[in-house]
């Protein structure tokens, strides 16, 4: 059905407003970042974005985000499983609280995690004597990024697990599969697209995260300094072009991740649709 044949009113107005608002708030400002980098020659640009301190921040940001997303994939899957399949006291409350990292301002999360994992904190005071240093180390960065990505895997896997046909599991059991075989041959493949989508979402969120990390990271150059902080540091030194160059690198990575996530979601939805049919 082409739009010409649709008789509902308001198409031009609503689409026009959508495009205008999208351009003003998102597209034009973002393009400003790309235009700004044209003040650099390519070799200058390359020098800035590959400076040792910047490269160290990429490594930390990516590494910690990846580890955080992995932790979330494993424990998020388990949490979703427990919330969907089992009954226990307080389940509804816990289900609601899983979204806390979405709702809690990142700065609050940052100082709270720091307080808990610091030398004299509730958890830190147990870890420090055993030689495990969390606060002000890369481990702290991983903790913060795990926190902010926690709901993603749970919330993408949960509905898929809920919609899973119990007949297929019963069929597997009736054909002689044990519980573990049923899980990794029947259930896990059905959950995989959603699990990967949740992983990618948590990873993408972690890459750009700032507020919850800077308090716990200690922010030592080359050791525990994340890429968004590099941008802030450059801005505070009025190095707008340098800040923008690093920002453009992050933007490109964000776009690629967004495309990957769209692809994963498409895959996941298709799987789902097939399962429901």
């Amino acid at each position: 059905m082409s739009k010409k044949t649709n008789v509902l009113p308001g198409f031009n107005l609503s689409l026009g407003y959508t495009l205008l608002y999208l351009s003003l708030i998102v597209l034009i400002p973002l393009s400003a970042a790309f235009l700004k980098t044209t003040e650099f020659s390519f070799s200058e640009f390359w020098q800035v974005v590959t400076a040792p301190r910047v490269v160290a921040s990429y490594k930390l940001t990516f590494g910690a985000s990846l580890i955080g997303a992995f932790i979330n994939a494993i424990f998020g899957l388990l949490t979703a499983w427990v919330l969907v399949r089992y009954d226990f006291f307080g389940k509804k409350l816990i289900d609601a609280l899983v979204d806390l990292p979405f709702a809690l301002p990142t700065a609050v999360a940052g100082i709270a995690l720091t307080a808990v994992y610091a030398k004299n904190g509730w958890i830190g005071s147990f870890l420090e004597p055993n030689g495990i240093h969390v606060a002000f180390t890369p481990v702290g960065v991983v903790i913060a990024l795990t926190f902010i990505g926690l709901p993603f895997v749970v919330r993408t896997v949960q509905p898929v697990l809920e919609d899973l046909e119990s007949e297929t599991e019963e069929a597997a059991a009736s054909l002689g599969a044990n519980r573990w075989q049923t899980f990794y041959k029947i259930i896990f493949p059905a959950l995989l697209p959603a699990l990967m989508t949740g992983f990618a979402l948590a990873f993408a969120r972690a890459i750009g995260e700032y507020g919850s990390v800077i308090f716990i990271a200690g922010n030592m150059p080359m050791v525990s300094e994340i890429t968004p902080l590099i941008i802030i540091t450059k801005l505070e030194q009025y190095d707008y072009t340098g800040a923008t160059a690093v920002a453009v690198v992050m933007l490109v990575i964000s776009f690629l991740l967004l495309l990957a996530i769209n692809g994963l979601q498409w895959w996941s939805n298709r799987r789902n649709a097939e399962a429901i049919e």
Binding site: M1, K4, T5, V7
Partner: protein, 353 residues
Amino acid sequence: MSIEINNISKQFGKFQALQNINFNVPSGELVALLGPSGYGKTTLLRIIAGLESADDGRIAFHGDDTTDKNVRERQVGFVFQHYALFRHMTVFENVAFGLRVRPKATRPSDAEIRRRVHELLGLVQLDWLADHYPPQLSGGQRQRIALARALAVEPKVLLLDEPFGALDAKVRKDLRRWLRRLHDELHITSVFVTHDQEEALEVADTIVVMNHGKVEQIGSPQQVYDQPASPFVYQFLGNVNEFESRVKQGRAHIEDIHLDSAEHHAVEDADALAYVRPHDIEVLKEPNGSSSFSAKVNYIHSLGPWVRLELQRQDDTRIIEAELTRERFLQLDLAEGTQVFLRPKQVRVFLKN
């Protein structure tokens, strides 16, 4: 208010949904658009309503061209296939909606709206549901509310898209009789879309049979059933036996028999298909000259006053169906395996092209 449909064509991408549709709906008639699902009937109905625009052609209401008229101005009542009742409004508010959204100048007073709505709810016999919400109603009730809502704006034309499609068999039967009675009472020019031949035959004054975006035949239920204009109509309305045939010098050859074929008297030699309804096949114990051919009884389905036979020609896998009265069946003393002779009483021959 009559509806004139002139040369309507519509294409969706590469799919030709409607192709040069032409017919008139006389004022006060109840017309059925009948055809298999997915072949343009609903599109045509939506074009008449103005919910969709045709690529070509025009629709006129009583001579007035409506092609450029907005849906809002056409004064049509439209009953959607899935009713499209407003979920968040009570039954009363649903029916009152069309009156409430009128501009201040033409909007009836609250008391008048209340009177009209209750009158309509009385008409569809659901006044007691006024304060309920659509999800609390049964399918048949929703259907009648949707109709009352469409009638509230005093439409000049009533359009119904598969009005009984989503209902179960029993409710469906009751509702279509009720719709027929309602139409006889109100006499609004009405068009409804259906893929159910029984429904069209029972309810409509006129049936427009459509297939692949084209009109196959227009006529009264009697006409389209007794004198189908094409093989498609034959097969779509009721059961029919199809025979490979050959027309030579105005005579049709079917199996072993030869029949005069008046409408093809000028044809020298052509392949054709012959159609015979099961109840137009006479079953005989003895051959009747050259007007009958032999077959063997395969199965006997006996139900109620009618007996249906499944027969087979020798060396042929195709099944021939015949229907006869129980009385005649007993008279013939048939059993599975009996050899009989079949005489087609009424045959239509269509040339293959």
